[in-house]
């Protein structure tokens, strides 16, 4: 997870006069950010302590119990929601990466600078627009009397509007849209570094284009695929706004459960769900991290 930090080995800036200040300076510089991190850790620890409290509505009682965890872990209802959350995130990740790959591929091939700038702006501009606005746009497009259905009902075999919102489909489409730039970006950086002479060598040796792609380009760009998938999955598994707005209460995922329980003042259960969600995200991070290491290891042999 070390991203770009420490690109150059640190050189000690020398000040002859005050050696004590010099030695303490880097630590003083780290104090403010350290305080922010301390707050973060303390908040998470407090949340963890809530998971071992009984549910008594409003007041957190000073009693320790495992009941909330038992209640969650032994309920098939909660497990089905964990599964639905992972399922949604997996489908979204797969679809996003499948769309992002050809997109990034074509984007790095564009030679015309003006055209390339326009494509970049179109692809990354949604990042600048609030998730609420983008979800609203999808509600307008996919609604029963929206733009897409207005086109669909003209088809001879479709007689009534197709249900595209307030279900799994709508949430998936909107999430793919929102997360697409996050998958395109890491792919761009690996595809740009792809040495063209390796591909040309394969082609000169008589490999047809699809074989050059499958055996040269794709394996070399896999780290970008895995990194993109990692980011998309982590964001999809915890997406709340889009799931609520396009799911219309019918798509139950962990993040929605957290919010609903806290609104109902069941803090211990909400806290347990927070940690289940966190563990799910961390497991996914670990799996993708291992995949990436395996790819690097495979490259060296």
């Amino acid at each position: 997870m070390s991203v770009g930090v420490g690109a150059r080995p640190g050189r000690r800036l020398e000040s002859k006069r005050r050696p004590l200040v010099r030695a303490a300076l880097p630590f003083l510089l780290l104090v403010p950010s350290g305080l922010v991190m301390l707050l973060f850790v303390a908040a998470l620890l407090l949340l963890l302590s809530y998971t071992f409290r009984p549910y008594t509505s409003i007041v957190i009682e000073p009693v320790w119990t495992l009941d909330t965890w038992k209640h969650f872990l032994t309920s098939s209802f909660y497990w089905s929601i964990v599964i639905e959350t992972v399922e949604l995130a997996s489908i979204v990740t797969l679809a996003t990466v499948l769309l992002a790959y050809p997109t990034a591929w074509v984007l790095v091939q564009i030679r015309n600078r003006a055209l390339s700038v326009v494509c970049y702006i179109v692809l990354f501009s949604p990042l600048l627009v609030s998730v609420v606005v983008r979800s609203y746009g999808w509600l307008l497009l996919l609604g029963d009397h929206g733009f897409v259905n207005a086109l669909l009902v003209r088809l001879p075999w479709i007689h009534s509007p197709v249900r595209l919102v307030f279900n799994f489909t709508g949430v998936t489409i909107a999430l793919v849209h929102i997360l697409l730039p996050f998958a395109v970006f890491p792919l761009l950086s690996v595809l740009r570094q792809l040495p063209p002479n390796v591909r040309e060598a394969a082609a000169d040796l008589g490999a047809p284009p699809w074989q050059v792609f499958l055996r040269v380009s794709l394996p070399l760009s896999l780290p970008g695929v895995v990194t993109g998938a990692q980011i998309v999955f982590t964001l999809a598994v915890s997406a709340w706004v889009t799931t609520v707005l396009l799911g219309g209460g019918r798509v139950l995922v962990l993040a929605k459960l957290v919010y609903d329980n806290i609104s109902n003042l069941n803090w211990p259960l909400g806290a347990v769900e927070c940690f289940v969600l966190m563990v799910t995200a961390l497991i996914a991070l670990a799996i993708f991290g291992r995949l990436n290491r395996a790819i690097y290891a495979g490259k060296e042999t």
Binding site: G4, V5, R11, V36, L39, V117, P186, T227
Partner: protein
């Protein structure tokens, strides 16, 4: 499609690419079109042309308040995270700090925690510590600083890593003190880092919703939260008008910073683009 052509790229990919561009822009385009819809029912095709939603939305009190709060919180979080983040990045890149890798990893921890969990955790500690931070602007600024800090530190760190320390050394050899070197040599070279980090921090804070929703009181909402609650209840084109104004604002921000971004090798500074190994 001239200029795209290159040996060995399969033509259907271009069709797919254009399809993705349309897919990307479609939800924003429909919002803009719908903001001029005369009917209250957001149906397709639009039922007449009207600009009444713009005047309705501009005089709608919750959106006015939300906009003001979001701008204040965004400016606050940007200022705090830029100061805190540049200090941390400077320490990590320019000094040999023991356990540097561990510290870097720790700074990224908030990224792996779901936003709703961060929101609830901060809510709990704001309440439990009796800090008066719940439901206030400082509370929101603290939360947003926590969220954008990993990105800001990364942006500054790659910015600093790209600056050759030879100028700082030269200034030192000429007798400048540490603070003077930082102020008149290092800082001016960090301009691009500050611009990219500020843009990123402000936009992230301005759009933040999933953490903030746990930290606001019902009467003090940020703009995204007001919009979310509005959308849960009704779907009149008023929201489309507001969204169009926000899209215009984002476009304006990008156009203003485009010359800088095109010049400054900004792609290297974007956190997700890094080689995560």
């Amino acid at each position: 499609m001239e200029g795209m052509a290159r040996r060995g790229t399969w033509p259907p990919l271009y069709v797919l690419f254009v399809g993705v561009l349309i897919f990307t822009i479609a939800p924003l385009a429909i919002v803009i079109v719908n903001s001029f819809n005369a009917s209250s029912y957001s149906l397709w095709p639009p039922d007449g042309f009207s600009t009444k939603w713009y005047s309705i939305v501009l005089s709608y009190q919750p959106f006015q308040d939300g906009f003001r709060i979001s701008v204040l919180v965004g400016l606050g979080a940007t200022a705090v995270s830029l100061v805190v983040g540049s200090m941390a990045a400077f320490a990590l890149v320019r000094y040999r700090v023991p356990g540097r890798n561990l510290i870097q990893t720790a700074y990224f921890a908030p990224l792996t925690v779901p936003r709703v969990a961060i929101g609830f955790a901060l809510f709990s500690i704001f309440i439990a510590s009796r800090s008066q931070l719940y439901g206030t602007l400082p509370g929101l600024i603290v939360a947003h600083t926590l969220i954008v800090l990993p990105f800001v530190i990364t942006i500054f760190a790659s910015n600093l890593g790209a600056i050759n320390p030879v100028y700082e050394e030269a200034a030192q050899d000429l007798g400048a003190g540490g603070l003077r070197v930082f102020w008149s040599v290092t800082l001016p070279q960090m301009r691009t880092g500050f611009a990219v980090a500020a843009l990123f921090a402000f936009m992230t804070s301005f759009d933040e919703l999933e953490t903030s929703i746990f930290l606001v009181r019902p009467d003090i909402n940020t703009l995204p939260i007001s919009m979310f609650f509005y959308l849960e209840q009704q779907q009149t084109p008023a929201l489309a008008a507001l969204s169009t104004l926000l899209i215009g604002l984002a476009v304006l921000l990008v156009l203003i910073s485009l010359p800088l971004l095109l010049r400054g090798g900004w792609t290297r500074l974007i956190p997700v683009g890094g080689n995560r190994s």
